[in-house]
Amino acid sequence: MNNLLPFVFALPLLGAGVAPLTRRSAWLQRALLLAVPAAVLVFAISLVAETRDGDVVTEQVAGWVPGIAIPFAADTFSALVLLVMAMLILLCSAFLIATGDERDPSVIPLVLVMSGGVFGAVVTADLFNFFVMIEVALIPSYVLITKSAQKAQLAAGRIYLMVNLFGSSILLGGVALVYAVNGSVQLGELAGAGSASGIAAFAGSVVLIALALKGALVPLHGWLPRTYPYTSPAITALFSGLLTKIGIYGLFRIVSVYFDGAESVQTVVLVVCIATMVIGAFGALGQTTMRSILVYSTVSQAGYIAVGLGFFGVTGLAAAIFYLLHEMIVKASLFLSAGAVETHHGTGQINRLGGIARREPLLGAAFLIAALSLAGIPPFSGFVAKFTVVRAAMDEQQYIAAGVAVAVSLITLLYMLKIWNAAFWGHESSDRSERVVSSGGGTVAVTTASQVRIATPLIVPGIVLALVTTSLGLGGEFLLSLAETAAHGLVDSSTYVEALTGR
């Protein structure tokens, strides 16, 4: 089991390497694009099974002694994140195939390498390697965002590139400072360093800033709404589900292992997360396209996810982990459903859409379920997530955080209703229905988009994820107990650390 762990990184890379061999056959290409995340998904499921009692699967890559080798380690937390990420990549890839984006020969290797990067980042237990993995995940994203941006929006790609390169420089600088202070970049050897000494905390804080930038926490969030909405829908879904979440994942890991949940970090996290929830939600309310609303929502929800880190305890972290996984699923579902609409109608402007729920009841149901789940309404997973977060906050007597979390979920409902009312229930006036539907192969056919049903493969990924959020709401216990185990592993990271250091 453990010596297969590096393959979460190696397999997608190998897939990218052999991608040109499949160029002759579209079916082979598709099979490659789907098989790799599917294989990782299966592996992740077995990892979850392996670690569900709190065990840690460790591999000292290349078999060197602990402390010298780069360790890969999977505890319940990483296994769960890996699982959900693999699932998202699988479904987003299916969506890519449905939109025809995969016909571009470079897209498959790019998506595969990006997945390899995020998978690697989730299982690596070496801070420098974490940086490398993030770079591996990001560099395809630079290409993808620039490639898929419309010409007028190349500025988005430029800003994305510059901000992320800057963020990576901060991360690298932070890692360097951590090494300079502690003489190691292996997480196990760094355990508790940040709470033990002031300068180590300072070095770690530089890393935290970089991760907060990647995870788009307020006030480091502005680049996200400026860039994410301007790529193709499937790519936005991937970015939102993978890249920002890697930042969040890193925050969890560093705060729990390096800082050992130090009080001062908790306070900062709390303040930042409260601001993130509020600013992101209001920002979403002010937007007018489906995806820009959803992207701001990603910001706001990042606050919900990380707020649990601000009251570092088993209940808080279990809630945070549950929230993280739930948000990844639900947000991807929304992006994919919105993407299906956008691909079909050629616009994401909510006031230029209307009546979709009547024409596409299944898509409408999937979107509504995910939207309600996002707003934390039962019986969907968002409810369990919100309930556990609020309960943990109140349990820790963080009434402000709890109150904000509750109040902001009403704003969440408002901005999701904004999309729903306009695009799904709203009017479809005749002058708008005459729209250009561009089909693949460069030919452009003028058809009335509203008269043609949206292709089934486009709506299936969103529906699948909507079903997942429903089952995680009704059968929340399954994930709750796993999240609790994962939280135990973060609050008391000794098992993780022992597995890494071999002591």
Partner: protein, 927 residues
């Protein structure tokens, strides 16, 4: 068990409903009504038990991790509400077929109505706080979908209803969480069993307030009442069922359910009575203003719910008995009135009360039923509405606290009830009296009328035989007050204050009715300055405005505007760090040597010049100079590998940068002075912080354990004597694999992004047609190519192979080879595609590197280097798989360099060609 069966039966019915509806059309309501009755009968089998003081309970694990269980419980209070849910539900479903049109589809409606019934039943049966909340929200959702299903005009009202009630739901959620924290469980049985635990906790007032907010939003009390009249856009069966009889009673149920805990809290009493009585009077006054029957009924519902809430606030057994009875009575007459309003609407084509004169002549049965229900609502004997009002008066007079409060409450109720009488009488009058305005109307069929007739008649029959409700009401009081109760309901209470108040009510009502013209004028003279819906809309649009302001900074196109935030965060962190005067160790050995300062000085000069230059080419050269200096510094510090890499990277960077420069204007845009000063200040601050961080954090400890280990064991472990290279390909090969992947993607990205770059005009092979000066320019590069390239390739190969032992390795070798490619390519670049194909190099290199890594599994781990001996002609050569890995690295880096020269070297030096997205979409890979 039976409780779960009941809920499950409703779910099954809901799932089956669309199928039934697609087969039977609108008539699907009949089998569904029968299903409701059967389910009701099933539940009723346990009623005698419950009325005798027993309970039916079911407790299944649901989410044990957070202590939440699927816990259902049937007691008197639940039974009261369950009978409304299923009873009125059956009537409404039987009413639907004749009300609905034949043309549309009704699958959605029937399914949602059944699902709503399930949720509402779940709400009144739930015995776990979280489960209660889940069902509470489900009823809200069903209401949202049912209102919004009425068409486009219903979208905004549906949204308002959802947001207001979901907002209340959030209050309930918060209350549930606080309750579970203060009581230590979400099990309501445990919480109810000992109210003192909760009531004595400091959280109790907050819980009470939150519960009240939840209840008054659901039950449409001031100031949240506005969603309910709006919701009347829904079709009439929905209004009758959800927005009169059941859903809006959710708040009532909640307050009654938590009465055992909070009824004795003064704040609870005061707040509920104030809100309830105010809503009762204001709602009734609004109702009197309405001409549209449904609007009138909606405001009437608001008012009547206020009445019940005030009674709950009183918190005495008598008051709760009255509240329970009135809940029941209200469901009877209000459902009837709504159904009749629907019938009249369908038959007469109008719901305007002014147009409905003298219906008794053309629709005598409809008129009679309307009269019955209106009379019950007005509180006239012998209807059940009279009895519940009488009970209420006597309960109000006994309000805890000073005697005047009771009288004040009672008189306020008289005012509200007087208004109720007035509008009730107005409906009655509209139905019976006056000239017949529409003569061509006919009585609707009995099947249409029957569902309305049953509750109308019940209102009268139960009024006469009210004693049969005694056990139910007693049990309800016992469940809500936790005291023994023996309700004795009767039509005639004897002479006393309640009767006086009743008389006073009727007098007030009559006065209001007979003076209806001046009353109307007075009511219509004062327009409400701000309706709830307006306030709601203003708040929402204000929030949207606020949101778009919040989004402004992020809209900037300038990179600086986006970099500023993380930079500021770093500066704040740095300033904080420095201000805290960290306690740092002394460096173990001196880190500064004199010649370092020379390098630093040169670097400073180069950087300063770089900042001041106005031409791009100078900037590139200076940037290169900075890079060389750093490389030189590495060399001085004893790191030849780093230095070599740095120098080669700098060479390639300059070459590539020059290629890019061809497409850019030769000078930078002028920057205005204030901006330049600002950016300079930021840069200096950032530099200072970075320097301080480096000074304080770096070089202050002994060599790390890992470094020590590598220096001593690298050769033994890996066979290589160049520690840097062994780190790169052996110890941290994974990092290298990652980094070369980055380069690989950079190469692939270049190929993909610049695919649209104009293809070079291939010159004809005949050199005679080529421009002569160009041919002349080629001489030197071509010569260089012939001599230099083979040499460089040889050096590169040598560097690759010796990398494990001396400075060199795949990375450095590839950079050297890259220089060779540059030399070879640049003269041709404009005319010929390169001979080396970047994609093959990159993908091949990546696959080779990964496959080598996989080979490591033979020795236990990914990327584990394999050592072996190869015998060639008797000579034993020691081989390691690290070389193969390094070869992969070499190929990728070289491929990346080739792709850069290829893509950036192409095209004319003119303007940047436009990208062609379509081309990119369909283009083939490679060149």
């Amino acid at each position: 068990m039976i409780l779960a069966v009941v809920l499950l039966a409703l779910v099954v019915t809901a799932v089956a409903a669309p199928a039934i509806a697609s087969r039977l059309g609108r008539n699907a309501g009949y089998p569904l009504a029968v299903a409701f009755l059967l389910i009701g009968a099933l539940l009723a089998t346990r009623a005698p038990d419950v009325l005798d003081g027993g309970t039916v309970s079911l407790n299944w694990e649901w989410m044990p991790s957070i202590g939440v269980s699927f816990h259902l419980h049937l007691d008197g209070l639940s039974l009261l509400f369950a009978s409304l849910v299923l009873g009125v539900g059956a009537l409404i479903l039987a009413y639907c077929p004749r009300y609905l049109g034949t043309s549309e589809q009704h699958q959605r409606l029937y399914m949602l109505l059944t699902l709503f019934a399930m949720s509402m039943l779940g709400l009144v049966l739930a015995r776990d706080l979280v489960l209660l909340f889940v069902f509470w929200e489900l009823t809200t959702l069903a209401s949202f979908l049912l209102i919004g299903g009425a068409g486009r005009t219903a979208v905004q009202p549906a949204a308002r209803a959802l947001v207001v009630t979901a907002g209340g739901g959030l209050a309930l959620l918060a209350a549930a969480v606080l309750l579970s924290i203060s009581a230590g469980t979400t099990n309501m049985s445990v919480i109810m069993a000992d109210p003192s635990v909760v009531i004595e906790s400091p959280l109790a007032p907050a819980i009470a307030v939150l519960l009240i907010i939840a209840a008054i939003t659901k039950s449409a009390q001031l100031p949240f009442h506005f969603w309910l009249p709006d919701a009347m856009v829904a079709i009439t069966p929905v209004s009758a069922y959800l927005h009169a009889a059941t859903l809006v009673k959710g708040g009532i149920y909640l307050l009654m359910r938590f009465s055992p805990t909070f009824a004795h809290m003064t704040m609870w009493t005061v707040v509920l009575m104030v809100i309830g009585l105010t809503t009762m009077i204001v709602g009734a006054a609004f109702a009197l203003k309405q001409h549209d029957l449904k609007s009138l009924l909606a405001y009437s519902t608001v008012s009547q719910l206020g009445f019940i809430i005030a009674l709950i606030g009183v918190g005495t057994p008598g008051a709760l008995a009255a509240a329970a009875l009135h809940t029941f009575a209200h469901a009877m007459f209000k459902a009837t009135l709504f159904m009749l309003a629907g019938i009249i609407d369908r038959e007469a084509g109008s719901r305007d009360i002014r147009e409905l004169g003298g219906l008794r002549r053309v629709m005598p049965v409809t008129a009679t039923l309307t009269g019955l229900a209106a009379t019950s609502m007005a509180g006239i004997p012998p209807f059940i509405g009279f009895i519940s009002k009488e009970e209420a008066y006597s309960a109000l007079l006994e309000t805890p606290g000073p005697a005047w409060t009771g009288w004040l409450a009672a008189l306020a109720t008289v005012a509200g009830a007087g208004l109720t009488f007035a509008y009730g009488f107005r409906i009655f009058y509209g139905a019976f009296a006056g000239p017949t305005t529409q003569r061509k109307l006919y009585e609707p069929s009995m099947t249409f009328l029957l569902p309305a007739a049953i509750p109308a008649a019940l209102g009268l029959v139960l009024g006469l035989t009210v004693g049969v409700l005694d056990p139910l009401i007693s049990r309800t009081v016992e469940d809500t007050m936790l005291t023994e109760s023996h309700a004795k309901l009767s039509l005639w209470h004897g002479f006393g204050s309640p009767l006086v108040l009743s008389a006073l009510t009727i007098i007030t009502g009559m006065a209001l009715f007979f003076g209806r013209y001046p009353v109307d004028r007075a009511l219509h003279r004062h327009r409400v300055p701000l309706t709830g819906a307006d306030a709601f809309n203003h708040t929402v649009s204000g929030s949207i405005q606020l949101g778009s302001w919040i989004g402004l900074p992020a809209r900037s196109h300038a990179i600086g505007a986006h970099i500023a935030w993380p930079l500021a965060a770093l500066l704040v962190l740095g300033a904080t760090g420095i201000a805290m005067r960290p306690d740092v160790a002394e460096p173990p050995l001196s880190t500064t040597r004199p010649h370092d300062w020379a390098v630093v000085a040169l670097l400073a000069i180069a950087i300063l010049a770089l900042c001041l230059t106005t031409t791009r080419i100078t900037a590139i050269v200076l940037l290169g100079a900075v890079g060389f200096l750093v490389g030189f510094w590495f060399l001085l510090a004893g790191a030849p590998d780093l230095a070599l890499t740095q120098l080669l990277v700098e060479i390639l960077t300059v070459v590539v940068a020059v290629l890019v420069l061809r497409r850019l204007p030769p000078t930078f845009r002028r920057i205005r002075r204030p901006r330049a000063i600002l950016t300079a200040a930021i840069a200096v601050a950032a530099g200072t912080v970075a320097a301080a961080a480096t000074f304080l954090l770096a070089g202050r400890r002994d060599r790390s354990a890992a470094a020590d280990y590598l220096i001593h064991n690298a050769k033994k472990d890996s066979g290589g004597s160049n520690v840097v290279n062994t780190v790169l390909v052996d110890f941290r090969g994974l990092d290298t694999l990652g980094e070369v992947t980055v380069l690989a993607i950079a190469g692939i990205g270049l190929m993909a992004l610049l695919r649209g770059t104009a293809e070079p005009n291939i010159l004809p092979a005949d050199s005679a047609t080529a421009p002569p000066d160009r041919l002349g320019n080629m001489v030197i590069p071509r010569f260089a190519a012939r001599v230099l390239v083979p040499m460089t390739v040889a050096i590169s190969a040598y560097l690759l192979f010796r990398g494990h032992y001396e400075p060199g390795g795949g990375f450095i070798a590839a950079l050297v080879a890259g220089v060779a490619v540059a030399v070879l390519q640049l003269p041709h670049g404009l005319d010929h595609p390169p001979r080396l194909r970047a994609p093959y190099l990159i993908y091949g290199g990546l696959a080779l590197a990964v496959l080598t890594g996989i080979g490591g599994l033979a020795d236990g781990s990914f990327l584990r280097p394999l050592h072996g001996h190869l015998g060639i002609g008797g000579a034993e050569i020691s081989m390691t798989s690290s070389l193969s890995f390094d070869l992969g690295v070499f190929l990728i880096v070289l491929g990346m360099a080739v792709s850069a020269f290829d893509r950036l070297g192409r095209g004319t030096t003119g303007e940047l060609p436009a990208r062609e997205p379509e081309l990119a979409r369909n283009g083939q890979g490679g060149s």
